[in-house]
């Protein structure tokens, strides 16, 4: 069962995503829903780095997404830049602000960090709403140019937009895969699992937490920039804390602290809500309790639960194999070690 987290699984997912417009032939609405889900998936993957892998529950994520989006909106509409250079800046502007927010907030532990970032999120939202000279206030920014002129492709049609967003999602996932499987990623996880211990091992807590935070909000900024060029209209709503709650939900449904989980969550949950459209106003009446039930009964999400189940299975198989080997008097080899390694590998 290497299918789900092996290279083949990822390529299969990518192939499915590339083929999707052909399944949804002629239905631009589905393409738009999917592309929006991909944009939020990029931000959610970023949120998962600081919350899932490093263990700091950030509640300002949508604020950073808004920073990226407004970077693109302001530079293109007010300063006449074209999309691509503005987009290239969006992630860096978010990360730059993230540096200062991180330096102050990451000195706080646990709940304090979450509360602090919630306040930062509100400051960002209120600034966007009130600082009319810069952000156009509640009126919002209209007429953001579509990303054009790149290799002769015009990204105004839903299908080309879809592929553009998919390209950046694939790039984001690949980059995140490299990050979490590097020494840096292990360092982040060590901090999550116990920061006193990590510090005792000689890990510089502050520097690594700030780095994780900056990388995380870089993703948010990039997602925001992409969102601006995709939706082409911006209002303060993008910064609302509810978007952070949404992303938290995606992360949790899929499986926090895994690579695949947030991705599946941010695509699956919006589709589910599409089917729950008939509930209209009652959507969150159903979703709130769903979130609670999930936290109580499936705290590790779909992917996390699958991994736990497979790990249990693998160790059971390994112990059975070991028992069998002991019975037939063959010397035990690396079977047990192999089984455990398989169980703890990352999705």
């Amino acid at each position: 069962m290497k299918l789900i987290d092996g290279k083949i699984g990822w390529l299969l997912l990518l192939a499915l995503a590339i083929a999707f417009p052909f399944f949804a032939a002629g239905n631009d609405y589905y393409l738009t829903v999917m592309a929006t889900a991909y944009v939020f998936a990029i931000a959610t993957i970023g949120l998962n780095l600081i919350t899932g892998y490093t263990g700091q529950f950030n509640l300002a994520h949508s604020g950073f997404m808004a920073v990226g989006a407004y970077t693109v909106g302001i530079l293109t509409v007010d300063y006449g830049w074209s999309f691509w250079p503005a987009f290239a800046l969006s992630g860096f502007v978010a990360a730059f602000i993230g540096l200062f927010v991180g330096l102050v907030s990451l000195r706080l532990k646990g709940h304090f960090f979450s509360i602090f970032t919630m306040c930062v999120g509100y400051i960002m939202y209120l600034l966007i709403e009130k600082w009319e000279g810069l952000t156009h206030g509640t009126v919002g920014i209209m007429g953001i140019p579509a990303p054009t002129g790149f290799a002769g492709i015009d990204f105004e049609a839903p299908r080309s937009q879809y592929y553009l967003v998919l390209f950046f999602l694939a790039l984001s996932v690949w980059a995140m895969h490299r990050i979490v499987n590097s020494l840096l990623g292990r360092t982040f996880m060590a901090i999550r699992n116990g920061d006193d211990l990590a510090e005792a091992l000689g890990i510089n807590l502050m520097r690594n937490k700030v780095l994780a935070f900056m990388l995380s909000v870089f993703y948010a900024g990039l997602a925001g920039g992409l969102y601006a060029g995709f939706v082409r209209f911006l209002g303060p709503g993008i910064a609302s804390v509810e978007h952070t709650f949404d992303m938290t939900m995606y992360m949790l449904v899929g499986g926090i602290g895994t690579l695949l989980g947030p991705l599946l969550g941010s695509i699956g949950v919006p589709w589910l809500t599409q089917y729950l459209q008939f509930l209209q106003d009652y959507r969150f009446v159903v979703f709130g309790p769903l979130l609670i039930i999930l936290v109580i009964f499936v705290p590790h999400g779909v992917v996390g639960s699958y991994l736990a189940w497979r790990a249990r299975n693998a160790s059971r198989l390994a112990s059975e194999a070991a028992a069998k080997q002991a019975k037939t008097q063959t010397p035990a080899g690396g079977v047990i070690g192999h089984g455990q390694q398989k169980g703890s590998s990352h999705a």
Binding site: T51, G55, F57, V104, S105, R107, L108, K109, G110, H111, F112, S114, I115, F116, M118, C119, V120, Y122, I123, L126, L127, K130, V241, F245, T248, M249, L252, I256, D281, Y282, R283, F284, V285, F287, G288, P289, L290, L291, I292, V295, I296, P299
Partner: protein, 287 residues
Amino acid sequence: MELILEQILNGLTLGGVYSLVALGLTLVYGIMHVPNFAHGAFYMVGAFAAFFLMSNWGLNYWVAMAGAGVVVAAIAVISERLVFHPLRHHEGLHHMIAAIGILLFLEASAQAMFGADFRRMQTPYAGIISMGGVTLPSQRLLIIVAAFALMLGLHLFLRKTTTGATIIAMAQNRDGAALVGIDANRVAMMTFAISGVLAAVAATLYAPINLVYPAMGNLVITKAFVIIVLGGMGSVPGAILGGLIIGFAESFGAFYISTDYKDIIAFVLLVVVLSLRPQGLFTTGAR
């Protein structure tokens, strides 16, 4: 001079309301170590309950306030039983997400039942009092008096009654409290009920000079969090003092700096304070 006096009274009004909300939050944090993000939704439900009781059943303002207290206390206790109790052995992140679930549920329910419109709550105290050149709407005076009376009542309850003592004991040392035979479940439920009543009363007091709508709790709860971080998580005097600090900062900030940015002042204050003192103003160490 009159203007300054008016700002002081405004600060006391805001501070009183914020303190009440922050008190409920800090009690729950002290006992359960849960930052209850749903507390703002409790506050909102309190306002809607009072509004409904007054407009549909024609009840008197004070009776409606009591009714709202009962409704929100019941919701708070149910949340404790169904959500926070099963999660007591989980890590901190899960508490917060579950609290967000309650928040989404209550907010969406209010919106589904009452719509997203802004409503105005009537008050029997719509008049204006003028004392020595200072004019003051009577509802504001009522808020100040009622809020501080309630705080005094809570203080006496916690200090003078056995039930209050069990709450304090559990906040100070959970294991110790269990050792001397304090029923943790009972104390947890009671704490949630008290926090619900405080939120409902604060909402019913403040709603007539503000508006009633499903998202009304969000900004208030965020400020209440700022207050308990400033005042020390779990500290009762800290919540009151922190509430007053934020109330005064806002009323003077709105007057001398800008009304547009008055809601940011509390947050900026927090950022500045935590940059200088990461453990908060009055705490000796972060938990």
